[in-house]
Symmetry: C2
């Protein structure tokens, strides 16, 4: 059963969780002075509107009409009750998923790419630079830039650039320019941290160019809250007073934040982050100030981290391979408001295939992490004989990740 | 602007165009005797329910509840007004598309795969055999078989099997068994006609197995009419009395039939088939009896054909590479009720990229053919200074066809 909203039921404001956090966020620090960063420090990278959102204390921030116009190409997204999965599990739980795979780029990423491109356009940028790992974020930004007639330069981790051409082509189809990173070392396979350094360097050295980040920062999670806000309305349509638990996969934290932040103030709702065992930032990292990139060019952020030099094994869920985590998500975990679990990738693909064989859709490997936790939660509910309402974020489809399924189905998956 | 229907507004009967055709269809003939085929001739291949649908004179045929249950995983599909494309063209036309790319397999094909699997299950089949070219149909049938717990064996044209592994993996993720065709000649690149022969041979030599076809036949087009039936309701929601022209790409004819057949009786509505110049069945073929496959094992069908030995160049729109055409579509073209146009593939990719850059979504190469005709129609309306309501079938997404875009974007496309 699918629960649909009409276009005029789309949220017209983003939810800013800042004022509702159990503890205020610590400030970001300048990488050289270690003093709190001010707007002027960030101005070479971001437009003022986004800098203001990054530190805003307003609980609601209006979504500009020009942004709504583009988001309505695919939003509101469906909320789906996964009845066939429920039956296969024989569970007493009711499972709902928010289908973010229906966007042009196939994931939740355009929810923030569009407003980021918009505010840059409004403040006179001609060009955006960014990094991408497997390509989910880069393709979302290329799509968004094309809508506002901005140039888009994407530094793509070289290993992905060489081995996974499909997302590069997607970016190019939307007019993006894609180069392998690191640009100064053609022998290096690259990493997300190195690619961030390349993109930041591009932005700070060109007057016409700003930088855009696809996760981690407060304004990125803010833009993703349309997911959870719509889900609240749709759960009401389904006759559910509230979810018992909200689940999302977590790399930098944006898809999880998008669905979970609107529920932070609902004390009875459990929030669960799911990460890979091979990059266990929240479950085994340390909460401390660290850089967002490998070269130490970004502000220092208060977050769980495995250290900015950490290079995770090359699992298929490229979007979850990040040494750090969103300060908002980190704060929620640190204060106990959010739980975190980690799974090896074999168990996540097992869950993804079970989902494909019942609900039909092929999930992205990142989304498979959330599904693993959902299935375990539903089985726990069955064990306990409890009704339990589970909501999760179906963050993206797996059409561009089928080689990972090939490895799994033919026993070639490294179960990191 | 998207026009959505709720699940209870989904059609509960298919529309059988047979009684409304300008001329009655000529019968299919037995390949050996050249006498009209009867139910017993077809029984080794198909369940009786589908054989009955193939020759039914009832204008409406109920959709079984068990089929509706699966179709509702993604149906009703959205009808979208392509306002950003309209603006880019500066046209006076209003362009609407029916988005069939939202199905689990990413195209319209599951609309018939599901009922075919269902009727086979009901009549005791344990296993279905089929052919697939690039893999759109094979993946749809693998998905459907998994929902009803049937085995699925897919004979995949060897050239695609070797060069395009992604759809093979998709079929395997849904539990399908995929082998390259022709099975008896590992040196041959194969063709759709040869693969049909392999699948038919499998079905007739195994008691537990039936055959399933993804296009051409009357019952296949029947199952696709949910597309046009929903579109009628949605156009009414949009305040349109009727479309002026309905457009679809045409290989075997199933996606075109799906959107166009419910409009056959509306005399003022133009119907347009769009095919590749390199496989110009309707625009340059002959109307005559011909086999559906290369080996001459299928019944003879009255249709436009380039001859069953015709091997089209290997353009990217694999779904449009078929020597023949649906008898229903052929009849509509022969009697003048439907128009047909042909385009070389370069112009279809130009249109597909324009669509991606305005509406956001990346179309399948097959769908790019329809979009080319839509853009030309919208420009003609602008030229004439006319309002014109254009409806087309967005038959599938291009996420698994990005290598074709790579060729186009980098000047490597053979403009056949």
């Amino acid at each position: 059963m699918r629960y649909l909203l009409s276009e005029d039921q789309m949220p017209t404001a983003w939810y800013n969780v800042g004022p509702a956090l159990p503890e205020p966020l610590q400030p970001q620090l300048h990488p050289a002075t270690r003093e709190p960063v001010g707007p002027d420090d960030l101005a070479p990278l971001f437009p003022m509107a986004l800098i203001a959102q990054e530190v805003s204390a307003d609980p609601w921030i209006d979504i500009p009409g020009e942004v709504l116009d583009i988001l309505r190409l695919w939003r509101p997204t469906p909320l789906v009750r996964a009845e066939r999965l429920e039956r296969a599990l024989g569970t007493t739980a009711r499972i709902y998923y928010k289908d973010e795979s229906v966007s042009p780029a196939g994931s939740h990423k355009p929810n923030t790419a569009v407003p980021q491109a918009f505010y840059n356009k409004m403040e006179g940028s001609k060009r955006l630079a960014t990094e991408t790992g497997a390509g989910q974020w880069g393709s979302a930004l290329a799509f968004a830039c094309r809508q506002y007639d901005l140039e888009c330069k994407v530094y793509m981790v070289r290993a992905s650039y060489d081995q996974k051409p499909y997302r590069r082509i997607l970016m190019e189809a939307w007019g993006g320019e894609v180069v392998p990173s690191p640009v100064d070392d053609p022998e290096s396979p690259g990493s997300l941290g190195l690619a961030i350094s390349d993109a930041v360097r591009d932005a700070v050295t060109r007057e016409d160019t700003h930088y855009a980040l696809g996760s981690v920062l407060n304004h990125v999670l803010l833009h993703q809250t349309v997911i959870g806000l719509e889900a609240k309305e749709q759960l009401a349509l389904a006759g559910e007073a509230r979810p018992d638990v909200v689940i999302g996969s977590c790399g930098g934290g944006s898809n999880l934040g998008g669905i979970a932040l609107p529920f932070v103030s609902d004390a009875d709702v459990r929030l669960v982050a799911v990460e890979p065992s091979s990059c266990p930032t929240l479950t085994e990292g340390t909460f401390e100030y660290d850089f967002g990139d490998a070269a130490g060019m970004t502000p220092l952020m208060p977050m769980y981290t495995l250290g900015h030099a950490f290079v995770p094994p090359s699992i298929h869920a490229g979007g979850l391979r990040y040494h750090g985590d969103s300060p908002i998500i980190s704060s929620l975990v640190k204060t106990g408001r959010m739980e975190a679990v980690a799974y090896p990738q074999g168990k996540t693909f097992e869950a993804a295939v079970q989902f494909a064989n019942t609900e039909g859709k092929i999930p992205a490997p990142e989304t498979g992490h959330a599904i693993r936790a959902v299935i375990d939660e539903a089985l726990a509910a069955k064990e306990a004989g409890e009704e339990r309402v589970i909501l999760f974020n179906y963050s993206g489809h797996g059409f561009l990740d089928l080689s990972a399924y090939d490895d799994y189905l033919h026993g070639r998956l490294i179960d990191a």
